[in-house]
C-alpha cells in the first residue's frame, strides 16, 4: 500500500484546524480584555485596601473599585527648618470623577500597626497636590525618623479608596543656617557694626551733636514744678511686659527721673500693670534713691503693683490722679486703648503731662492730650539724652547713621522708579528683589 505522504498530513491538518479553533476559543475565554484586566487589578487594590485599612477615622471597607486612586508620592525634606517638616507631593487620580478629596496618612516605618496611621492632611480634589507636612503640632515630624505615606481617594459618600504605601526614602533634618535670612544677616551686621563704630567713636571722646528734644528737656522743668507745688509725680511705665523693649526703655528713663526726684525730695508714685515690671521698677527707684544719697527718703509704698486687668488698671491710675492730684504725669512705655483715658483724665486734673510710646496708633491721643510727647524712637533716645554718657550718645548717632542708609536706599528706589517710567526699564524690580526678604515662606 502506497503511503500518501501528502494526503495524510493534510488530513491531519484539516482535523487539527477545528481543534485549534476550539483551543483558541478556550484561550480567548481565559485571556481578559483590557477592561477586564483593569477590573482585576482594581480588585487586587481593593483587596489591599481591606488589608491596609487605617484605624484613623471610620474604617469604610469598600470592595467596589468605584474611584480612581492617587499615584506616586514624593517626599522631600523642607529646607531651613528644625527638621520637622516635609514637602509632600503626589500624583492625583487620573480620573477625579466622584472624588471629593484626598486623605493623606503618615506613620513611622517601624510601626507595623494599622492604628499607627495618622491622618495628616485632607486636600480637596481641585487643590494643588503639594503640601508641607509637619505644621500640625498634634502629628509632629521627628528629625531622623523614617516615615511612610499613603493616600486615599474619598468619595462623595465619604468612602476611602486607598492607594499603595510609599516610603519617604529620606529623613527630616534641621539646618544650622537659614539660607533665606542671608540678607537679614548682612543688614544686621552692617547696622550693628555702625552702632558699634559710633560707640567707639564716642568713647574716644569725639564731640557729637544731639538735636534737642523738647519733651526730654521738659522733664527737669516738670520735676521742678512738682517740687515747687509740693505735689507728687506719677510715673506710668505702660501696660506691657518686661519683654517689650519700650518697657525696658521706660524703666531706664525711670531710673534717671527717680534720681532727680530723689535729689529734689519729691514724692513719686509708680503704679505697675505687670508684676515682673513692678519688681524691676521697685529696684530701679530704690537704687536711684541710694545713688542720690537719700536712701532714707525712699518710700516703699511709692512703687506698687496695681492689677493685670487693662481697664481696672486705668480706673486705679485715674483714681490716683483725681485723689492725689499729681503735678506731673509721665506716660512712658507701651500703651493700648487706655492711653487716651489716662491722658485725658490727667489733663482734666491739671497736671503737666509728658508721654512717650512707640505704639503708632496711640501717638495721636498722646499728642492731643499731653504737653510733650516722645514719638517712637525718641523714647529710646531719652535715656541717652538724660544720662549724657558718651556710649549712649554714640548709640543714638549709630541709629541716625542706620536711618541715613535706609533713606539713601529709599531715594535710590525713587530714582529707579522714575527711570523705569521714563526709559521703560525694570530696574526697580531688580532693586526690590535685591533688598527685600519674603516674610512668609
Amino acid at each position: 500500500m502506497r503511503i500518501n505522504w501528502i494526503g495524510i498530513p493534510a488530513a491531519l491538518i484539516l482535523l487539527m484546524i477545528p481543534s485549534l479553533s476550539v483551543a483558541q476559543d478556550s484561550v480567548e475565554n481565559l485571556t481578559p480584555t483590557d477592561d477586564t484586566v483593569s477590573e482585576m487589578v482594581t480588585e487586587d487594590v481593593a483587596d489591599e485596601k481591606i488589608e491596609t485599612q487605617p484605624a484613623a477615622g471610620e474604617p469604610l471597607l469598600e470592595t467596589d473599585p468605584g474611584l480612581d486612586i492617587p499615584g506616586m508620592i514624593t517626599v522631600q525634606d523642607k529646607p531651613n527648618n528644625a527638621g520637622d517638616q516635609f514637602i509632600v507631593t503626589f500624583e492625583p487620580a487620573v480620573n477625579p470623577e466622584g472624588i471629593q478629596c484626598y486623605n493623606v496618612y503618615r506613620r513611622v516605618v517601624s510601626e507595623e500597626s494599622e492604628n499607627a496611621w495618622d491622618l495628616v492632611k485632607v486636600i480637596p480634589v481641585d487643590k494643588p497636590t503639594e503640601f508641607i507636612d509637619g505644621y500640625d503640632p498634634e502629628y509632629p515630624i521627628e528629625p531622623g525618623i523614617l516615615y511612610e505615606y499613603r493616600i486615599a481617594s474619598v468619595s462623595l459618600e465619604d468612602t476611602e479608596f486607598f492607594g499603595p504605601v510609599f516610603g519617604a526614602m529620606i529623613v527630616a533634618k534641621g539646618e544650622w543656617f537659614h539660607t533665606g535670612k542671608v540678607k537679614v544677616l548682612i543688614a544686621g551686621v552692617l547696622f550693628i557694626g555702625l552702632i558699634f563704630y559710633y560707640f567707639g567713636k564716642a568713647q574716644r571722646g569725639a564731640k557729637m551733636y544731639l538735636r534737642p528734644i523738647s519733651g526730654i528737656e521738659a522733664i527737669d522743668e516738670a520735676i521742678g514744678r512738682a517740687t515747687e507745688m509740693g505735689k507728687p509725680i506719677l510715673y506710668v511705665p505702660g501696660i506691657s511686659t518686661i519683654s517689650d523693649v519700650a518697657t525696658i526703655a521706660s524703666l531706664t528713663i525711670l531710673g534717671r527721673v527717680a534720681r532727680k526726684i530723689a535729689d529734689y525730695q519729691t514724692r513719686i508714685i509708680v503704679p505697675n500693670y505687670d508684676p515682673i515690671v513692678y519688681t524691676v521698677a521697685e529696684e530701679v527707684v530704690k537704687q536711684a534713691y541710694l545713688e542720690a544719697g537719700r536712701p532714707d527718703s525712699y518710700d516703699q509704698d511709692s512703687v506698687f503693683f496695681l492689677t493685670q486687668s487693662q481697664f481696672a488698671y486705668v480706673a486705679g491710675v485715674n483714681g490716683i490722679m483725681m485723689r492725689d492730684r499729681p503735678a506731673t504725669n509721665f506716660y512712658l512705655g507701651m500703651f493700648y486703648a487706655e492711653s487716651l483715658i489716662l491722658a485725658e483724665t490727667g489733663s482734666l486734673s491739671g497736671a503737666i503731662q509728658i508721654a512717650g510710646t512707640d505704639a503708632v496708633t496711640q501717638l495721636p491721643f498722646f499728642i492731643t492730650t499731653c504737653d510733650y510727647t516722645l514719638i517712637g524712637e525718641e523714647l529710646y533716645a531719652a535715656s541717652a539724652y538724660l544720662g549724657h554718657e558718651p556710649k549712649q550718645i554714640g548709640a543714638v548717632k549709630g541709629q541716625d547713621a542706620c536711618k541715613a542708609i535706609v533713606m539713601s536706599l529709599i531715594t535710590l528706589a525713587l530714582v529707579l522708579g522714575v527711570l523705569d517710567l521714563v526709559a521703560d526699564t525694570h530696574t526697580l524690580d531688580w532693586f526690590r528683589n535685591l533688598v527685600t526678604v519674603s516674610i512668609v515662606e
Partner: protein
C-alpha cells in the same frame, strides 16, 4: 558680683537669642522654647510679689488711717474674696468657678460691667480730644482739621453724597501721606529697639539693674 552675674546672663542670653534667629536647627529651637517656657514661671512667682505689694500698700494705709483709707477696703476685700469663693469655699456653699457660683456671679455682674463702662468712656474722651485737636488755631491745625474732615466723611456713607472724590481723597490721605509717616516712625522705632537691645546686651545701658547706670 551682684551686677556682673546678671550682666553675664543677659549678654549670653541676648547673643544666643540673636544667633537663634538664624539657626533653624532643632537644638536651637529647644533652647528658644525653654526660654519661652521660663517666662511664665518667673511671672507666676512675680505675681505673688505683686499681690504682696498691693496688700502691704493698703494695709499700711488702713493702719495709718491715711487719706481716703476707706477705699483700701474696696481693694483688699475683693482681692482675697474672689479667690476665696473660687478656690476654697466648696461648691455646696456657693463656691467654685462654675456658672452658678458666687465667684462667677461677682465676675459677670460686677467686674465685666465695670470694665465695659471704663472702655465705653473712650468714646466720649475721643470726642473731647478730637474737639481739642481740630481747633483751627494755626495753618497746620487747619490742614489737620481739613484732612480729618475729608477722611472721616470718606469713611461714612454720607460722604458719597458729595461725590466719589471725597472717599477717594480720604483713601489717598490714608494710603500715602499717613502711611508714609507711620512707616517713618516704625523705621525709627526699629533702629531704636536695635540700639537699645545692643546697649543692654553689651552692658552699656545698666539702668534696668537699678540705679542710673553708675
Amino acid at each position: 558680683m551682684k551686677r556682673t552675674v546678671p550682666l553675664m546672663i543677659v549678654m549670653v542670653g541676648g547673643i544666643l537669642m540673636m544667633l537663634q534667629y538664624f539657626i533653624p536647627h532643632q537644638y536651637s529651637q529647644v533652647i528658644f522654647n525653654n526660654y519661652l517656657e521660663w517666662a511664665p514661671i518667673v511671672g507666676a512667682f512675680a505675681l505673688i510679689l505683686g499681690v504682696g505689694s498691693l496688700t502691704r500698700l493698703h494695709t499700711h494705709k488702713i493702719r495709718r488711717k491715711a487719706k481716703n483709707w476707706q477705699y483700701s477696703w474696696a481693694v483688699l476685700i475683693p482681692l482675697f474674696g474672689m479667690p476665696l469663693f473660687g478656690l476654697i469655699i466648696p461648691q455646696s456653699l456657693g463656691g467654685g468657678s462654675d456658672v452658678h457660683g458666687v465667684h462667677d456671679f461677682l465676675f459677670m455682674h460686677i467686674q465685666v460691667p465695670i470694665q465695659s463702662t471704663m472702655f465705653s468712656l473712650l468714646a466720649f474722651y475721643i470726642a473731647s480730644a478730637a474737639f481739642r485737636a481740630f481747633r483751627a488755631k494755626s495753618a497746620l491745625a487747619t490742614i489737620l482739621l481739613l484732612a480729618a474732615v475729608i477722611v472721616m466723611l470718606g469713611q461714612v456713607p454720607i460722604g458719597d453724597v458729595f461725590g466719589r472724590w471725597l472717599p477717594n481723597t480720604g483713601l489717598w490721605i490714608l494710603r500715602y501721606p499717613n502711611l508714609a509717616a507711620k512707616r517713618a516712625i516704625m523705621l525709627g522705632v526699629g533702629f531704636g529697639m536695635l540700639a537699645t537691645n545692643l546697649k543692654i546686651i553689651f552692658g552699656v545701658e545698666r539702668n534696668w539693674l537699678g540705679g542710673a547706670g553708675k
